[in-house]
Protein backbone atom coordinates (compact mmCIF):
# COMPACT_ATOMS: atom_id res chain seq x y z
CA UNK A 1 0.00 0.00 0.00
CA UNK A 2 1.37 3.39 -0.95
CA UNK A 3 1.16 5.81 1.95
CA UNK A 4 1.48 9.58 1.85
CA UNK A 5 4.35 11.38 3.55
CA UNK A 6 2.00 12.58 6.32
CA UNK A 7 0.68 9.08 6.93
CA UNK A 8 4.20 7.72 7.29
CA UNK A 9 5.07 10.59 9.61
CA UNK A 10 2.07 9.82 11.83
CA UNK A 11 3.11 6.17 12.05
CA UNK A 12 6.67 7.14 12.96
CA UNK A 13 5.49 9.38 15.77
CA UNK A 14 3.02 6.82 17.14
CA UNK A 15 5.61 4.07 16.99
CA UNK A 16 7.60 6.00 19.57
CA UNK A 17 4.66 7.23 21.64
CA UNK A 18 1.23 5.75 21.02
CA UNK A 19 -0.34 7.81 23.81
CA UNK A 20 0.41 11.20 22.31
CA UNK A 21 -2.72 13.38 22.41
CA UNK A 22 -4.32 13.68 18.99
CA UNK A 23 -4.23 17.49 19.18
CA UNK A 24 -0.46 17.37 19.67
CA UNK A 25 -0.01 14.79 16.93
CA UNK A 26 -2.08 16.88 14.51
CA UNK A 27 0.04 19.96 15.18
CA UNK A 28 3.28 18.04 14.73
CA UNK A 29 2.31 17.03 11.21
CA UNK A 30 0.50 20.31 10.43
CA UNK A 31 -2.95 18.79 9.90
CA UNK A 32 -6.30 19.41 11.54
CA UNK A 33 -7.50 17.06 14.25
CA UNK A 34 -10.23 15.78 11.90
CA UNK A 35 -7.76 15.00 9.12
CA UNK A 36 -5.47 13.23 11.57
CA UNK A 37 -8.35 11.16 12.94
CA UNK A 38 -9.31 10.14 9.42
CA UNK A 39 -5.76 9.00 8.70
CA UNK A 40 -5.61 7.02 11.94
CA UNK A 41 -8.89 5.33 11.12
CA UNK A 42 -7.62 4.36 7.69
CA UNK A 43 -4.31 3.05 9.07
CA UNK A 44 -6.16 0.99 11.67
CA UNK A 45 -8.71 -0.39 9.23
CA UNK A 46 -6.08 -1.40 6.72
CA UNK A 47 -4.05 -3.01 9.52
CA UNK A 48 -1.00 -0.89 8.81
CA UNK A 49 -1.28 -0.06 12.49
CA UNK A 50 -1.82 -3.52 13.91
CA UNK A 51 -1.96 -2.73 17.59
CA UNK A 52 -1.00 -0.09 20.15
CA UNK A 53 1.21 -1.74 22.74
CA UNK A 54 3.04 -0.81 25.91
CA UNK A 55 6.63 -1.78 26.58
CA UNK A 56 6.85 -2.78 30.24
CA UNK A 57 9.91 -3.44 32.35
CA UNK A 58 8.34 -6.21 34.43
CA UNK A 59 11.43 -6.60 36.60
CA UNK A 60 10.29 -3.49 38.39
CA UNK A 61 6.93 -4.98 39.33
CA UNK A 62 6.95 -7.09 42.49
CA UNK A 63 5.57 -10.56 42.00
CA UNK A 64 6.25 -10.64 38.27
CA UNK A 65 9.11 -13.09 38.02
CA UNK A 66 8.39 -14.03 34.42
CA UNK A 67 11.03 -15.56 32.18
CA UNK A 68 11.58 -15.26 28.46
CA UNK A 69 13.25 -17.93 26.37
CA UNK A 70 14.31 -18.00 22.75
CA UNK A 71 14.12 -21.46 21.25
CA UNK A 72 15.89 -22.54 18.09
CA UNK A 73 13.73 -25.14 16.42
CA UNK A 74 14.72 -27.46 13.59
CA UNK A 75 11.75 -28.86 11.69
CA UNK A 76 10.95 -30.98 8.68
CA UNK A 77 9.04 -28.85 6.19
CA UNK A 78 5.98 -30.48 4.65
CA UNK A 79 5.32 -30.85 0.96
CA UNK A 80 2.96 -28.22 -0.33
CA UNK A 81 2.87 -26.06 2.81
CA UNK A 82 6.61 -25.78 3.58
CA UNK A 83 7.19 -24.35 7.02
CA UNK A 84 3.88 -22.53 7.24
CA UNK A 85 1.86 -25.33 8.73
CA UNK A 86 4.25 -26.16 11.55
CA UNK A 87 4.81 -22.45 12.22
CA UNK A 88 1.07 -22.00 12.63
CA UNK A 89 0.81 -24.97 14.98
CA UNK A 90 3.48 -23.36 17.11
CA UNK A 91 2.24 -19.75 17.11
CA UNK A 92 -1.25 -20.81 18.17
CA UNK A 93 0.03 -21.66 21.66
CA UNK A 94 -0.68 -18.63 23.88
CA UNK A 95 2.74 -18.92 25.58
CA UNK A 96 4.40 -18.21 22.24
CA UNK A 97 5.10 -14.50 21.76
CA UNK A 98 6.72 -14.63 18.35
CA UNK A 99 7.78 -17.06 15.64
CA UNK A 100 10.25 -16.29 12.86
CA UNK A 101 11.42 -18.41 9.94
CA UNK A 102 15.21 -18.17 9.94
CA UNK A 103 18.07 -18.86 7.59
CA UNK A 104 21.11 -20.68 8.96
CA UNK A 105 21.59 -23.38 11.56
CA UNK A 106 17.94 -23.84 12.48
CA UNK A 107 14.54 -23.12 10.92
CA UNK A 108 12.23 -21.41 13.38
CA UNK A 109 13.04 -18.99 16.15
CA UNK A 110 10.34 -19.15 18.82
CA UNK A 111 10.05 -16.72 21.72
CA UNK A 112 8.24 -18.04 24.79
CA UNK A 113 7.20 -16.21 27.91
CA UNK A 114 6.37 -18.13 31.04
CA UNK A 115 6.05 -17.59 34.76
CA UNK A 116 9.08 -19.73 35.62
CA UNK A 117 11.90 -21.66 34.00
CA UNK A 118 10.18 -24.93 34.80
CA UNK A 119 7.00 -23.72 33.10
CA UNK A 120 8.96 -22.92 29.94
CA UNK A 121 10.83 -26.23 30.18
CA UNK A 122 7.54 -28.05 30.48
CA UNK A 123 6.16 -26.28 27.43
CA UNK A 124 9.23 -27.15 25.36
CA UNK A 125 9.39 -30.80 26.39
CA UNK A 126 5.69 -31.57 26.37
CA UNK A 127 4.23 -29.38 23.64
CA UNK A 128 6.91 -28.12 21.28
CA UNK A 129 9.25 -31.12 21.03
CA UNK A 130 6.40 -33.55 20.62
CA UNK A 131 5.11 -31.94 17.43
CA UNK A 132 5.57 -34.32 14.50
CA UNK A 133 7.66 -32.03 12.35
CA UNK A 134 9.98 -30.86 15.11
CA UNK A 135 13.41 -32.49 14.88
CA UNK A 136 15.20 -30.65 17.69
CA UNK A 137 15.04 -27.67 20.02
CA UNK A 138 17.70 -25.56 21.75
CA UNK A 139 16.43 -23.32 24.52
CA UNK A 140 18.14 -20.04 25.52
CA UNK A 141 16.83 -18.20 28.56
CA UNK A 142 17.09 -14.42 28.51
CA UNK A 143 18.94 -13.31 31.62
CA UNK A 144 18.54 -9.55 31.27
CA UNK A 145 16.95 -7.20 28.75
CA UNK A 146 19.17 -4.27 27.87
CA UNK A 147 17.41 -3.13 24.73
CA UNK A 148 14.09 -4.33 23.33
CA UNK A 149 12.43 -3.23 20.10
CA UNK A 150 14.77 -0.27 19.80
CA UNK A 151 14.21 0.90 23.36
CA UNK A 152 16.98 0.84 25.92
CA UNK A 153 15.79 -0.22 29.38
CA UNK A 154 16.86 1.96 32.31
CA UNK A 155 18.43 4.58 30.10
CA UNK A 156 19.56 7.67 31.95
CA UNK A 157 17.50 10.17 29.94
CA UNK A 158 18.08 13.26 32.03
CA UNK A 159 19.02 16.42 30.15
CA UNK A 160 22.69 17.19 30.78
CA UNK A 161 22.50 20.64 29.20
CA UNK A 162 22.74 23.78 31.25
CA UNK A 163 19.50 25.78 31.35
CA UNK A 164 20.69 28.80 29.35
CA UNK A 165 23.12 28.95 26.44
CA UNK A 166 23.47 31.66 23.79
Amino acid sequence: MKLTEKEVEIIEILEKDARIPIETLAKMVSLSVGETEAILKKLEETKVIVQYTTLVDWRKVDGHEGVTAMIDVKVTPKRGVGFDEVAERIYRFPEVKSVYLMSGAYDLSVVIEGRSMSEVAKFVSEKLSTLDSVISTTTHFILKKYKHDGTVFDQGDQDHRIVMVP
Binding site: E9, T24, K27, M28, D159, R161, V163, M164, P166
Partner: protein
Protein backbone atom coordinates in the same frame (compact mmCIF):
# COMPACT_ATOMS: atom_id res chain seq x y z
CA UNK B 1 54.28 59.60 50.08
CA UNK B 2 52.45 60.22 46.90
CA UNK B 3 48.96 58.70 46.66
CA UNK B 4 48.85 56.38 43.67
CA UNK B 5 45.59 55.52 41.96
CA UNK B 6 45.59 51.86 41.03
CA UNK B 7 45.76 51.44 37.28
CA UNK B 8 43.49 49.02 35.50
CA UNK B 9 45.19 46.04 33.96
CA UNK B 10 42.36 45.51 31.52
CA UNK B 11 42.34 46.54 27.89
CA UNK B 12 39.98 49.43 27.37
CA UNK B 13 38.21 47.55 24.60
CA UNK B 14 37.46 44.61 26.84
CA UNK B 15 36.58 46.80 29.81
CA UNK B 16 34.01 48.60 27.68
CA UNK B 17 32.51 45.38 26.32
CA UNK B 18 29.11 44.56 27.80
CA UNK B 19 28.75 41.06 29.28
CA UNK B 20 26.24 38.82 27.53
CA UNK B 21 22.67 39.63 28.56
CA UNK B 22 21.98 35.94 29.00
CA UNK B 23 24.21 35.76 32.07
CA UNK B 24 21.70 37.20 34.55
CA UNK B 25 18.98 34.79 33.45
CA UNK B 26 21.39 31.91 33.57
CA UNK B 27 22.21 32.62 37.21
CA UNK B 28 18.56 33.01 38.10
CA UNK B 29 17.39 29.91 36.23
CA UNK B 30 20.16 27.66 37.51
CA UNK B 31 19.31 28.54 41.11
CA UNK B 32 15.77 27.19 40.66
CA UNK B 33 14.40 23.65 40.75
CA UNK B 34 11.95 22.16 38.28
CA UNK B 35 12.64 24.62 35.47
CA UNK B 36 11.42 23.76 31.99
CA UNK B 37 14.20 25.20 29.90
CA UNK B 38 13.61 26.68 26.49
CA UNK B 39 16.77 28.69 26.95
CA UNK B 40 19.28 26.32 25.44
CA UNK B 41 20.91 26.98 22.09
CA UNK B 42 21.96 23.43 21.46
CA UNK B 43 20.49 20.11 20.34
CA UNK B 44 18.93 17.81 22.93
CA UNK B 45 20.39 14.82 21.11
CA UNK B 46 23.62 13.22 22.22
CA UNK B 47 26.25 12.94 19.47
CA UNK B 48 25.60 9.76 17.45
CA UNK B 49 27.30 6.67 18.80
CA UNK B 50 29.32 5.99 15.63
CA UNK B 51 30.89 9.46 15.93
CA UNK B 52 31.69 8.99 19.61
CA UNK B 53 33.07 5.56 18.75
CA UNK B 54 35.35 7.05 16.07
CA UNK B 55 36.76 9.42 18.69
CA UNK B 56 37.38 6.56 21.12
CA UNK B 57 39.10 4.56 18.36
CA UNK B 58 41.37 7.49 17.53
CA UNK B 59 42.41 7.63 21.19
CA UNK B 60 42.97 3.89 21.33
CA UNK B 61 45.19 4.15 18.28
CA UNK B 62 47.17 6.87 19.98
CA UNK B 63 46.33 9.77 17.67
CA UNK B 64 47.01 12.33 20.35
CA UNK B 65 49.47 14.70 18.68
CA UNK B 66 48.92 17.98 16.80
CA UNK B 67 47.43 17.91 13.36
CA UNK B 68 48.34 20.29 10.53
CA UNK B 69 47.43 23.87 11.47
CA UNK B 70 44.58 23.87 9.00
CA UNK B 71 43.33 20.52 10.29
CA UNK B 72 43.72 16.92 9.11
CA UNK B 73 43.86 16.93 5.31
CA UNK B 74 41.56 13.93 5.34
CA UNK B 75 38.97 15.97 7.22
CA UNK B 76 39.37 19.00 4.95
CA UNK B 77 38.82 16.72 1.96
CA UNK B 78 35.64 15.40 3.56
CA UNK B 79 34.50 18.95 4.29
CA UNK B 80 35.12 19.96 0.67
CA UNK B 81 33.20 16.93 -0.56
CA UNK B 82 30.36 17.68 1.87
CA UNK B 83 30.10 21.34 0.81
CA UNK B 84 30.05 20.32 -2.85
CA UNK B 85 27.54 17.51 -2.33
CA UNK B 86 25.08 19.33 -0.11
CA UNK B 87 25.43 23.01 -0.93
CA UNK B 88 26.97 22.98 -4.43
CA UNK B 89 30.00 25.09 -3.54
CA UNK B 90 33.46 23.95 -4.55
CA UNK B 91 36.52 24.57 -2.36
CA UNK B 92 40.09 23.35 -2.57
CA UNK B 93 40.72 21.36 0.63
CA UNK B 94 44.42 22.25 0.62
CA UNK B 95 44.11 26.00 0.27
CA UNK B 96 40.57 27.10 1.00
CA UNK B 97 39.38 25.18 4.06
CA UNK B 98 40.39 25.59 7.70
CA UNK B 99 39.24 23.50 10.64
CA UNK B 100 38.53 25.66 13.70
CA UNK B 101 37.58 25.40 17.35
CA UNK B 102 33.86 25.78 16.80
CA UNK B 103 32.23 28.12 14.32
CA UNK B 104 32.75 30.86 16.92
CA UNK B 105 36.50 30.81 16.41
CA UNK B 106 35.96 30.90 12.66
CA UNK B 107 33.91 34.10 13.00
CA UNK B 108 36.60 35.62 15.18
CA UNK B 109 39.28 34.69 12.64
CA UNK B 110 37.25 36.03 9.73
CA UNK B 111 36.89 39.39 11.45
CA UNK B 112 40.45 39.65 12.71
CA UNK B 113 41.85 38.69 9.32
CA UNK B 114 39.87 41.29 7.41
CA UNK B 115 38.92 44.25 9.60
CA UNK B 116 41.16 47.32 9.90
CA UNK B 117 40.82 49.67 12.87
CA UNK B 118 37.67 51.69 12.44
CA UNK B 119 36.21 49.55 9.65
CA UNK B 120 32.48 49.14 9.90
CA UNK B 121 30.83 45.73 9.83
CA UNK B 122 27.10 45.51 9.29
CA UNK B 123 25.41 43.07 11.64
CA UNK B 124 21.88 42.04 10.77
CA UNK B 125 19.92 41.98 14.03
CA UNK B 126 18.43 40.22 15.94
CA UNK B 127 21.64 38.23 15.82
CA UNK B 128 23.77 35.75 17.67
CA UNK B 129 25.15 37.56 20.72
CA UNK B 130 28.82 37.26 19.73
CA UNK B 131 28.91 39.09 16.38
CA UNK B 132 28.97 42.67 17.67
CA UNK B 133 31.54 42.07 20.43
CA UNK B 134 33.78 40.08 18.06
CA UNK B 135 33.73 42.98 15.58
CA UNK B 136 34.73 45.32 18.40
CA UNK B 137 37.50 43.00 19.57
CA UNK B 138 38.83 42.91 16.01
CA UNK B 139 39.07 46.72 16.15
CA UNK B 140 36.05 47.32 13.98
CA UNK B 141 32.76 49.08 14.56
CA UNK B 142 29.62 46.95 14.52
CA UNK B 143 26.76 48.64 12.68
CA UNK B 144 23.48 46.98 13.62
CA UNK B 145 20.69 46.85 11.06
CA UNK B 146 17.39 45.89 12.62
CA UNK B 147 15.02 43.54 10.93
CA UNK B 148 11.39 43.48 11.76
CA UNK B 149 9.01 40.78 12.92
CA UNK B 150 6.41 41.96 10.44
CA UNK B 151 8.87 41.12 7.63
CA UNK B 152 9.59 37.71 9.24
CA UNK B 153 12.93 39.23 10.24
CA UNK B 154 14.15 39.26 6.66
CA UNK B 155 16.69 41.91 5.83
CA UNK B 156 15.57 44.28 3.07
CA UNK B 157 18.26 45.37 0.59
CA UNK B 158 17.45 49.07 1.10
CA UNK B 159 18.11 48.68 4.84
CA UNK B 160 21.60 47.40 4.13
CA UNK B 161 22.18 50.10 1.57
CA UNK B 162 21.25 52.85 4.02
CA UNK B 163 23.76 51.50 6.57
CA UNK B 164 26.67 51.50 4.12
CA UNK B 165 29.33 54.20 4.50
CA UNK B 166 32.85 54.70 3.11
CA UNK B 167 34.14 52.64 6.02
CA UNK B 168 31.89 49.63 5.51
CA UNK B 169 34.00 46.55 5.04
CA UNK B 170 31.80 43.59 5.59
CA UNK B 171 28.34 42.23 6.30
CA UNK B 172 27.55 39.35 8.66
CA UNK B 173 24.52 37.29 7.78
CA UNK B 174 23.19 34.18 9.46
CA UNK B 175 20.64 31.97 7.74
CA UNK B 176 18.89 30.07 9.26
CA UNK B 177 19.10 32.73 11.91
CA UNK B 178 19.73 32.49 15.62
CA UNK B 179 17.46 33.69 17.32
CA UNK B 180 14.64 34.13 14.78
CA UNK B 181 14.90 30.90 12.78
CA UNK B 182 14.44 32.95 9.61
CA UNK B 183 15.81 31.45 6.40
CA UNK B 184 16.79 33.69 3.48
CA UNK B 185 15.59 32.36 0.14
CA UNK B 186 17.31 32.50 -3.23
CA UNK B 187 15.86 35.83 -4.39
CA UNK B 188 16.58 37.46 -1.04
CA UNK B 189 20.18 36.27 -1.12
CA UNK B 190 20.51 37.50 -4.70
CA UNK B 191 19.20 40.92 -3.73
CA UNK B 192 21.80 41.13 -0.96
CA UNK B 193 24.44 39.93 -3.42
CA UNK B 194 23.70 42.82 -5.79
CA UNK B 195 24.36 45.37 -3.05
CA UNK B 196 27.42 43.52 -1.83
CA UNK B 197 28.84 43.62 -5.32
CA UNK B 198 27.89 47.23 -5.94
CA UNK B 199 29.67 48.40 -2.78
CA UNK B 200 32.46 45.85 -2.96
CA UNK B 201 31.75 44.30 0.43
CA UNK B 202 32.89 41.09 2.04
CA UNK B 203 30.26 38.75 3.46
CA UNK B 204 30.73 36.61 6.52
CA UNK B 205 28.04 33.99 6.11
CA UNK B 206 27.32 32.02 9.26
CA UNK B 207 25.77 28.79 7.99
CA UNK B 208 26.01 26.76 11.19
CA UNK B 209 22.27 25.92 11.04
CA UNK B 210 22.26 24.99 7.33
CA UNK B 211 21.53 21.33 8.06
CA UNK B 212 18.46 22.36 10.01
CA UNK B 213 16.44 23.90 7.19
CA UNK B 214 12.93 22.50 7.10
CA UNK B 215 10.94 23.77 4.17
CA UNK B 216 13.11 23.42 1.13
CA UNK B 217 16.72 23.06 0.05
CA UNK B 218 19.35 25.21 1.72
CA UNK B 219 21.18 27.77 -0.38
CA UNK B 220 24.64 28.80 0.70
CA UNK B 221 25.51 32.45 0.17
CA UNK B 222 28.77 31.30 -1.47
CA UNK B 223 26.67 29.48 -4.08
CA UNK B 224 25.00 32.70 -5.24
CA UNK B 225 26.42 33.99 -8.54
CA UNK B 226 29.76 35.77 -8.18
CA UNK B 227 29.63 35.65 -4.37
CA UNK B 228 32.12 32.85 -3.74
CA UNK B 229 35.07 35.21 -4.14
CA UNK B 230 33.74 37.64 -1.53
CA UNK B 231 32.29 35.20 0.99
CA UNK B 232 33.76 33.66 4.10
CA UNK B 233 31.58 30.64 4.73
CA UNK B 234 31.38 29.63 8.37
CA UNK B 235 29.99 26.34 9.58
CA UNK B 236 30.65 23.49 11.97
CA UNK B 237 29.45 20.32 13.57
CA UNK B 238 27.74 21.65 16.70
CA UNK B 239 24.14 22.04 15.59
CA UNK B 240 23.52 19.70 12.66
CA UNK B 241 25.56 16.82 14.05
CA UNK B 242 24.72 17.50 17.72
CA UNK B 243 28.38 18.03 18.61
CA UNK B 244 28.36 21.29 20.59
CA UNK B 245 30.83 20.17 23.26
CA UNK B 246 33.38 18.96 20.72
CA UNK B 247 34.12 22.53 19.68
CA UNK B 248 34.69 21.80 16.05
CA UNK B 249 33.91 24.15 13.23
CA UNK B 250 35.29 25.05 9.86
CA UNK B 251 35.51 27.88 7.42
CA UNK B 252 35.85 27.99 3.65
CA UNK B 253 37.07 31.08 1.87
CA UNK B 254 39.13 32.18 -1.14
CA UNK B 255 42.79 31.18 -0.67
CA UNK B 256 44.13 34.67 0.08
CA UNK B 257 41.64 35.27 2.90
CA UNK B 258 42.02 31.76 4.21
CA UNK B 259 45.82 32.16 4.36
CA UNK B 260 45.36 35.25 6.53
CA UNK B 261 42.93 33.44 8.83
CA UNK B 262 45.31 30.50 9.06
CA UNK B 263 48.12 32.86 10.09
CA UNK B 264 46.18 33.98 13.16
CA UNK B 265 44.93 30.47 13.86
CA UNK B 266 48.43 28.97 13.87
CA UNK B 267 49.72 31.53 16.36
CA UNK B 268 46.69 31.55 18.61
CA UNK B 269 45.36 27.99 18.55
CA UNK B 270 47.82 25.80 16.62
CA UNK B 271 45.13 23.34 15.58
CA UNK B 272 41.70 22.09 16.57
CA UNK B 273 41.58 19.07 18.92
CA UNK B 274 42.79 15.96 17.11
CA UNK B 275 40.27 13.49 18.50
CA UNK B 276 37.39 15.78 17.61
CA UNK B 277 38.72 15.94 14.06
CA UNK B 278 38.70 12.16 13.74
CA UNK B 279 35.15 12.13 15.06
CA UNK B 280 34.19 14.75 12.48
CA UNK B 281 35.51 12.61 9.62
CA UNK B 282 33.12 9.87 10.73
CA UNK B 283 30.30 12.41 11.04
CA UNK B 284 30.72 13.53 7.43
CA UNK B 285 31.18 10.02 6.04
CA UNK B 286 28.41 8.22 7.86
CA UNK B 287 26.36 10.74 9.79
CA UNK B 288 23.83 11.78 7.19
CA UNK B 289 21.07 9.43 8.32
CA UNK B 290 21.31 10.64 11.90
CA UNK B 291 21.20 14.26 10.78
CA UNK B 292 18.06 13.52 8.78
CA UNK B 293 16.48 11.81 11.78
CA UNK B 294 17.21 14.75 14.08
CA UNK B 295 16.01 17.24 11.51
CA UNK B 296 12.72 15.40 11.11
CA UNK B 297 12.27 15.40 14.85
CA UNK B 298 12.96 19.15 15.14
CA UNK B 299 10.53 19.89 12.32
CA UNK B 300 7.69 18.06 14.10
CA UNK B 301 8.44 19.84 17.33
CA UNK B 302 8.59 23.18 15.53
CA UNK B 303 5.19 22.55 13.96
CA UNK B 304 3.70 21.67 17.32
CA UNK B 305 5.37 24.43 19.28
CA UNK B 306 4.82 27.36 16.92
CA UNK B 307 1.17 26.52 16.33
CA UNK B 308 0.65 26.17 20.08
CA UNK B 309 2.32 29.52 20.76
CA UNK B 310 -0.05 31.18 18.31
CA UNK B 311 -3.02 29.44 19.91
CA UNK B 312 -2.18 30.64 23.40
CA UNK B 313 -1.85 34.18 22.10
CA UNK B 314 1.86 34.66 21.47
CA UNK B 315 2.00 35.45 17.80
CA UNK B 316 4.94 33.75 16.17
CA UNK B 317 6.07 33.46 12.55
CA UNK B 318 6.89 29.97 11.28
CA UNK B 319 10.69 29.76 11.41
CA UNK B 320 12.19 27.97 8.39
CA UNK B 321 15.25 26.67 10.18
CA UNK B 322 17.41 26.31 13.31
CA UNK B 323 15.53 25.29 16.47
CA UNK B 324 14.22 28.57 17.80
CA UNK B 325 10.78 30.10 17.91
CA UNK B 326 10.79 33.87 18.33
CA UNK B 327 7.29 34.91 19.39
CA UNK B 328 6.18 38.47 20.00
CA UNK B 329 5.26 39.37 23.57
CA UNK B 330 4.33 42.97 22.72
CA UNK B 331 0.65 42.54 23.45
CA UNK B 332 1.41 41.75 27.07
CA UNK B 333 2.76 45.28 27.56
CA UNK B 334 5.89 43.90 29.19
CA UNK B 335 9.44 44.33 27.98
CA UNK B 336 11.30 41.20 26.88
CA UNK B 337 13.29 41.13 30.11
CA UNK B 338 10.24 41.67 32.32
CA UNK B 339 8.36 38.94 30.50
CA UNK B 340 11.24 36.45 30.69
CA UNK B 341 11.89 37.16 34.36
CA UNK B 342 8.24 36.98 35.39
CA UNK B 343 7.71 33.78 33.41
CA UNK B 344 10.76 32.22 35.04
CA UNK B 345 9.83 33.24 38.57
CA UNK B 346 6.13 32.47 38.35
CA UNK B 347 5.97 29.43 36.09
CA UNK B 348 9.57 28.21 35.98
CA UNK B 349 9.87 28.35 32.23
CA UNK B 350 13.24 29.66 31.05
CA UNK B 351 13.31 31.66 27.81
CA UNK B 352 15.80 34.22 26.56
CA UNK B 353 14.65 37.84 26.31
CA UNK B 354 14.84 39.00 22.70
CA UNK B 355 16.68 42.23 23.42
CA UNK B 356 19.93 40.37 24.21
CA UNK B 357 20.11 39.67 20.47
CA UNK B 358 20.09 43.35 19.61
CA UNK B 359 17.60 46.16 19.69
CA UNK B 360 15.45 44.54 17.00
CA UNK B 361 14.72 41.72 19.41
CA UNK B 362 12.93 43.87 21.97
CA UNK B 363 9.32 42.76 22.24
CA UNK B 364 10.20 39.14 21.53
CA UNK B 365 11.49 36.11 23.40
CA UNK B 366 13.61 33.24 22.11
CA UNK B 367 12.31 29.77 22.86
CA UNK B 368 14.41 26.79 21.86
CA UNK B 369 12.26 23.85 20.86
CA UNK B 370 15.23 21.45 21.04
CA UNK B 371 13.57 19.80 24.03
CA UNK B 372 11.50 16.66 24.43
CA UNK B 373 7.83 16.78 23.38
CA UNK B 374 6.88 16.26 27.04
CA UNK B 375 8.87 19.34 28.02
CA UNK B 376 7.40 21.39 25.20
CA UNK B 377 3.86 20.40 26.12
CA UNK B 378 4.56 21.28 29.73
CA UNK B 379 6.05 24.63 28.70
CA UNK B 380 2.98 25.49 26.63
CA UNK B 381 0.71 24.55 29.54
CA UNK B 382 2.63 26.81 31.92
CA UNK B 383 2.89 29.70 29.47
CA UNK B 384 -0.83 29.54 28.80
CA UNK B 385 -1.52 29.72 32.53
CA UNK B 386 0.94 32.61 32.84
CA UNK B 387 -0.65 34.61 30.02
CA UNK B 388 -4.13 34.08 31.42
CA UNK B 389 -3.04 35.78 34.63
CA UNK B 390 -1.41 38.82 33.03
Amino acid sequence: MMQQTKKSYLSETVARLKPSGIRRFFDLASSMEGVVSLGVGEPDFVTSWSIREACILSLEQGYTSYTANAGLLELRQEIAAYLARKFHVEYDPEAEILVTVGASQAIDLALRATVNPGDEVIVVEPSFVAYGPLVTLAGGVPVPVETNGDDHFKIRPDQIERAITDRTKALIICSPNNPTGTVLHKEELEAIARIVKKHDLLVISDEIYAELTYDGPYISFAAVDEMRERTILISGFSKGFAMTGWRLGFTAAPAEILRAMLKIHQYAIMCAPTMAQYAAIEALRNGEQDVEYMKKSYRRRRNYFVQSLNEIGLSCHMPGGAFYAFPSIRETGLTSEQFAEKLLLEEKVAVVPGNVFGAGGEGYIRCSYASSMEQLQEAIKRMKRFLARL
